[in-house]
């Protein structure tokens, strides 16, 4: 039988705080529904599985609900069953309050599985909700009990240890399950990792990934070199999976279905290598080469500032003005001042004081001594401040003149 396997839809997510992105996520869901419909016609898809994180949070807004209903209604109208399990976002794993999926379930639009299963002939689809790794023993035990004699397809929202993900998520460790603890004789329709068609090396498990771009590592990436943009990689594919499950057993064939039409998400890497602001701004000209229309653009400025220059001097925010027509330009700075081995904050206040003092006091050594002394004074260490300042002024602790007699 042919099964469409989705996960990590994250309806309602306002990525980067942008309304447009929330819309993008909804549209991606609806496009996926269209594709499933088409595939049903073409190939005869029987069943739709959504293994977790359908909604971005346990209390979606009404408009988000409406989108979900729209989509699932269409599937129901086409006569397909939709089985949904809970992920880590659309319910609290500790205190599962009434989660939004049960709402959908009660309306009959979807079937909510949590430690439950549905048999389709010899194919049994088992669904378990997302659990923290500390509680996996219960999950694994339940699986063994739930599994039948035929073909078992397990819907599970966890990170299976060993899956070679490319970009890490903060909660990876929290929802991990080691592959060797899971029963081998089942196909795992997994969710939680957002990379499309990510396969586990040993376990029969493939992640469909999210329907929309989730992380900036998935963006189309360019780097600004010598004043020109060079593409490093394209935007990662997004979509879902088509599972071909043989009732007689054997491996499940997995076909990735790519969704087209998402927004362009572009990352531009700009290096600073200690060149003065003027040189830097010259090179920025190359940025204008790309078409940024409606794209979400992230500019990463990385490197070392020039000697004696501060962040303000470079006017990094003016980068935004070079990128036209984008949905949003986000400039991220990872620059350090030259020679500062320690992250002694040389911006802001210290810079201010240094600038002002340098104007009045010509001597750099003295200015540095004054700064250090000010620090010591605010810590209450007046004597040490005296010593530092004396040294800065070129007065050693030599009482040598006394010894000259």
């Amino acid at each position: 039988m042919l099964i469409a396997h989705l996960s990590d839809v994250h309806l309602g997510r306002r990525q980067y705080g942008l309304e447009a992105r929330a819309r993008d996520y909804e549209l991606a869901f609806l496009r996926a529904i269209d594709e499933i419909a088409r595939l049903r016609e073409e190939k005869g898809v029987d069943l739709v599985l959504v293994s977790g994180d359908l909604f971005d949070n346990p209390r979606p807004s009404p408009s988000t609900y409406l989108t979900a209903i729209r989509g699932f209604s269409r599937l129901r109208d086409l006569g397909m069953d939709v089985l949904v399990t809970r992920g880590n976002h659309d319910a609290s794993v500790v205190n599962p309050v009434d989660n939004p999926i049960t709402v959908l379930d009660s309306s009959g639009l979807v079937k909510y599985l949590d430690y439950g299963y549905v048999d389709y002939g010899r194919v049994r689809v088992i669904g378990v909700g997302c659990v923290p790794t500390n509680n996996r023993v219960r999950l694994i035990k339940a699986l063994r009990e739930l599994m039948g004699s035929g073909v078992n397809v397990v819907m599970m929202h966890q990170y299976v240890e060993g899956t070679p993900y490319r970009y890490p998520m903060p909660n990876i460790d929290y929802y991990t399950i080691p592959a060797n603890e899971l029963p081998k004789d089942a196909y795992y329709a997994v969710g939680h990792i957002h990379e499309h068609a990510l396969r586990h090396p040993t376990l029969e498990a493939v992640y469909p990934g999210s329907l929309e771009v989730w992380d900036s590592q998935e963006f189309e990436t360019h780097v600004l070199e010598d004043g020109r943009l060079r593409m490093v990689k394209g935007q990662d594919p997004k979509g879902f999976l088509l599972l071909d499950v043989n009732e007689g057993g054997g491996r499940v064939r997995v076909e990735p279905i790519r969704l087209k039409g998402g927004r362009r998400m572009i990352k531009v890497i700009v290096n600073v290598n200690g060149e003065p602001p003027s040189t830097f701004r010259e090179r920025l000209g190359g940025l204008g080469a790309l078409d940024y229309r409606d794209a979400y653009v992230e500019v990463n400025v990385i490197g070392e500032l020039g000697d004696g220059y501060g962040v303000r001097d470079y006017g990094f925010n003016t980068v935004k003005s070079l990128i036209n027509g984008a949905l949003k330009v986000n400039v991220k700075l990872s620059v350090t001042k030259r020679g500062s081995a320690k992250a002694q904050a040389t911006h802001g206040l210290i810079e201010l004081i240094q600038t002002v003092l340098s104007k009045s006091i010509g001597n750099e050594a003295v200015v540095n001594a004054v700064l250090k002394a000010l620090d010591l004074i605010s810590d209450g260490k007046v004597n040490e401040a005296v010593a530092i300042l004396e040294r800065g002024l070129g007065l050693g602790s030599d009482v040598g003149w006394l010894q000259w007699s």
Partner: protein, 804 residues
């Protein structure tokens, strides 16, 4: 660039255990009231600033640790410029557990240990101290505190700007440096003055010394000249002396030779005389030799005679000895005889005596009998006396009794007595007493002789004993006498016989004597002949010698010697003339030597003084140089210090100037930020701008140009302004904001503005490395990049926190 990547909490307030990953962008902590959102934020603050932060917020450790647990731990994993560090703080209810409080690098090295060091490390590496952190962590309800920018202690801008530190720098630090420098300058000046004085003194002394040195040099050269001339003279004199001494030696040698030669000469002369005499003698000797020869011839016959006589003499001698022996025997016998005679006579006398004594024996015995009878008489008298005395005593006793007692009683029978009887008895007894006493006195007078008689008796008895002894001896003596007499007769017979023999031998003696005499004669003769023999031999020996040759050699010797002697005498005479001069020269030499010695001494002295002077001059010169150097060094240092003093003054002025400039710069920066930000967040269209005045008042400008102080706004508006102000201040002060913690920032805001704020926070997250926002409203859930849920898990109220 510094960001927090992970928060781990154990046993802090309601959170038993939590492990929360943070990402860049907005980290949203969602949870119901009391779930523990604030605990998570506080844990971050505690992890970063430890007890410093707790003290400021007046939070007690005992309130932090979960009930029922003993130890609470907070842990942060931070990324500082690409390097990861773990910051851990552990504490019990009472105190921080210092051994479990540290910062550890990726490779396990603890780069900071203990509460204070960890705080210091955080301050350095994050670039934010605990005061500034107050800006970055807006606790629930404290958001608006920032609006009272100058009144609230923590937000005093001057403090944040370190302007108060600058004041302290001027008043305390710079002043102390100034004081020290001035002190040093003064001291240097004084020292330099002193040094100058010293230098002058030394130079004066130097000049004096130099003048004196010159004088000494002149004196020395003069003395040297004198000395050399005198020394020349001395050497000349000495040469002369040496020569003369040589002369004297020669003279002495000559004299010695002369005396030796003269002695030799005398000896030779004596020998010569001897030899000449000897030559003369020879003749005489010859004659004598001849004489002797004749005499010796006659000697031979005598020898025979001699031997004959010797024989005779021997023979006779023996007989004569016999004779003499006999004569002596005779003498002996005669002596014996006389001795015997004497003995006999003695014995006869003794015998007579003894006989006489024996005669007296009878008389003696009579006398003894007599004496003995008398003694017996006397003994009887004694006895009588004794009884008489007894009787006397007895009577006296009776008398006493009678006299004494009044009642007369018979002393014998104790019968009473009448007075007459008593009288009678008394008279009788008294008469008896008288009679007895008479008799007693007679007896006593007779007894007076008793002792004498006793002696006499003894004496007589003694004598009698003697007599008895004598009697016994007499026969012994008589027999002895007979014996002696017999012996005497024998002796006489012997004597007679020997006498007869003697008479015979007497004749032989005469013969013997004459032969002896002759013999003696002959012997003498022979002796003299022997003497002659000896003489003869001697003379011959003498004659054998030949003294003449000897004599001639001696004579030639003598003449040689005489010649030599005269030679030497001539020379001696010559030399002695010269020698006279020697003495005078010696005197002269002494004189000159003394002069030279004196000059030398004076010269030495002068040189010594000069050397001393030179060395002391050298010392003084060194000293002067040293002082000069010292002065120049000190002057240099003084110049340096004065320069520094000026610098310090300039620095103080510069800092003074800096203060207002700093304030202004800060205000400008703040207001710039405020302008930028407020554009985005503007609450009402009617509000155009917010800014901070020079007096640190926060003002809001309305679209109609009116300016309002911020406390005229609504609570919600004020929250907004406060948010923005915090951000602006932090940005202005820090430049890069590593972390910002906002606890319920959307309080009092409607949903629209919550939305706006959440959007603005997104922009904020681009400037802030780590932004953590909490709310019990889930407005941020959809916009956050990282959602963290905090939920109560059991009736005890314990909660866990996890990444959604």
């Amino acid at each position: 660039m510094a960001s927090v990547e992970l928060i781990e909490i154990e046993n802090v307030r309601s959170v038993r255990k939590a492990s929360i990953r943070l990402s860049s962008g907005v980290n949203f902590i969602y949870g119901l009231n009391g779930a523990g959102k604030t605990t998570i934020l506080d844990s971050v603050a505690i992890a970063l600033y430890g007890t410093d932060w707790l003290k400021r917020k007046r939070i007690r450790l005992s309130d932090l640790v979960t009930m029922g647990a003993s130890v609470g731990v907070v842990r942060l994993l931070v990324n500082v410029n690409g390097r990861r560090y773990t910051i851990q703080r552990a504490f019990s209810r009472e105190k921080v557990i210092e051994t479990q409080t540290y910062v550890m690098s990726e490779d396990g090295v603890r780069v900071a240990e203990r509460d204070r060091e960890v705080t210091r490390w955080v301050t350095e590496n994050l670039g934010v101290d605990v005061e500034l952190f107050n800006l970055l962590y807006a606790r629930q309800g404290e958001l608006r505190d920032i609006l009272e920018v100058n009144r609230r202690e923590e937000f005093k801008l001057d403090k944040l700007l370190k302007i108060d530190s600058m004041d302290k720098l001027q008043t305390e630090v710079l002043k102390s440096i100034e004081k020290r420098l001035e002190g040093e300058a003064k001291a240097l000046e004084a020292a330099i003055r002193e040094n100058n004085g010293e230098r002058e003194r030394i130079e004066r002394k130097l000049n004096e010394a130099r003048a004196r040195a010159k004088e000494l040099e002149a004196l020395i050269s003069k003395l040297s000249e004198e000395l050399s001339s005198k020394e020349a003279e001395l050497s000349r004199l000495r040469d002369e002396e040496r020569r003369l001494i040589g002369v004297r030696e020669r003279f002495n040698a000559i004299n010695d030779e002369l005396s030796r030669l003269k002695d030799e000469l005398n000896r030779i002369n004596a020998e010569v005389k001897e030899l000449e005499a000897k030559v003369k003698e020879r003749e005489a000797l010859k004659a004598r030799a001849r004489e002797i020869e004749d005499k010796l011839k006659a000697s031979r016959g005598l020898r025979d005679e001699l031997s004959r006589l010797e024989e005779l003499v021997n023979e006779l001698g023996g007989r004569v000895r016999e004779l003499e022996y006999k004569e002596s025997m005779i003498k002996e016998l005669e002596r014996q005889r006389s001795d015997l005679d004497r003995q006999i006579r003695e014995l006869e006398d003794e015998l007579e005596e003894l006989r006489r004594i024996r005669e007296g024996r009878r008389g003696l015995e009579e006398r003894i009998r007599e004496v003995t009878s008398r003694l017996r008489e006397l003994d009887e008298l004694k006895a009588r006396r004794t009884s008489l005395m007894e009787e006397l005593n007895h009577i006296n006793e009776e008398l006493n009794i009678l006299k004494q007692s009044n009642e007369p009683v018979c002393p014998v029978c104790k019968r009473p007595l009448n007075p007459d009887d008593r009288e009678r008895i008394i008279k009788e007894n008294t008469e008896r007493v008288r009679r007895i006493k008479e008799e007693l006195s007679v007896i006593n007078s007779r007894l007076r002789d008793y002792d004498n008689l006793k002696e006499v008796e003894e004496d007589l008895r003694g004598k009698l004993a003697q007599v008895k002894v004598a009697e016994e001896r007499i026969p012994t003596l008589e027999s002895r006498l007979r014996e002696l007499r017999g012996r005497l007769t024998e002796l006489n017979g012997e004597l007679e016989a020997i006498r007869g023999e003697v008479r015979e031998l007497a004749r032989l003696r005469e013969e013997y004597n004459s032969a002896n005499a002759k013999l003696r004669q002959l012997r003498d003769l022979l002796k003299s002949l022997e003497g002659l023999q000896e003489e003869y031999l001697r003379i011959n020996a003498e004659l054998a010698k030949n003294p003449e040759a000897e004599l001639s050699s001696l004579l030639s010797n003598r003449s040689r010697i005489e010649a030599r002697i005269s030679e030497l005498e001539d020379e001696a005479k010559r030399l002695s003339g010269e020698l006279a001069r020697l003495n005078s020269i010696e005197e002269l030499i002494n004189k000159v030597e003394n002069e030279v010695k004196e000059l030398r001494a004076r010269l030495e002295q002068g040189k010594g003084s000069l050397n001393q002077l030179i060395s002391s001059i050298g010392e003084m010169e060194n000293e002067a140089k040293r002082i000069g150097e010292l002065i120049s060094r000190r002057s240099e240092r003084l110049r340096f210090i004065r320069g520094k003093l000026q610098e310090v003054t300039k620095l103080a002025a510069a800092i003074e100037d800096a203060k207002p400039a700093l304030r202004r710069a800060l205000l400008n920066a703040i207001n710039e930020e405020l302008r930028d930000t407020f554009k985005v967040l503007r609450h009402k269209e009617s509000l155009v701008e917010i800014y901070v005045t020079e007096d640190y008042e926060v003002m809001v400008k309305r679209s109609d140009g009116r300016e309002l102080p911020v406390n005229m706004l609504s609570m919600g508006e004020r929250n907004l302004v406060a948010l923005v102000l915090r951000f602006a201040l932090s940005k202005a002060l820090l430049g890069d904001i590593p972390i910002m913690l906002l606890d319920e920032p959307t309080e009092h805001l409607d949903s629209e503005h919550r939305r706006r704020v959440s959007n603005w926070l997104r922009d904020l997250s681009e400037v802030v490395d780590t932004l953590i926002v909490t709310s019990h409203v889930d407005a941020f859930e959809n916009t956050a990049d990282n959602v963290i849920r905090v939920e109560v898990v059991n009736p005890r109220g314990e909660s866990i926190a996890y990444n959604a």
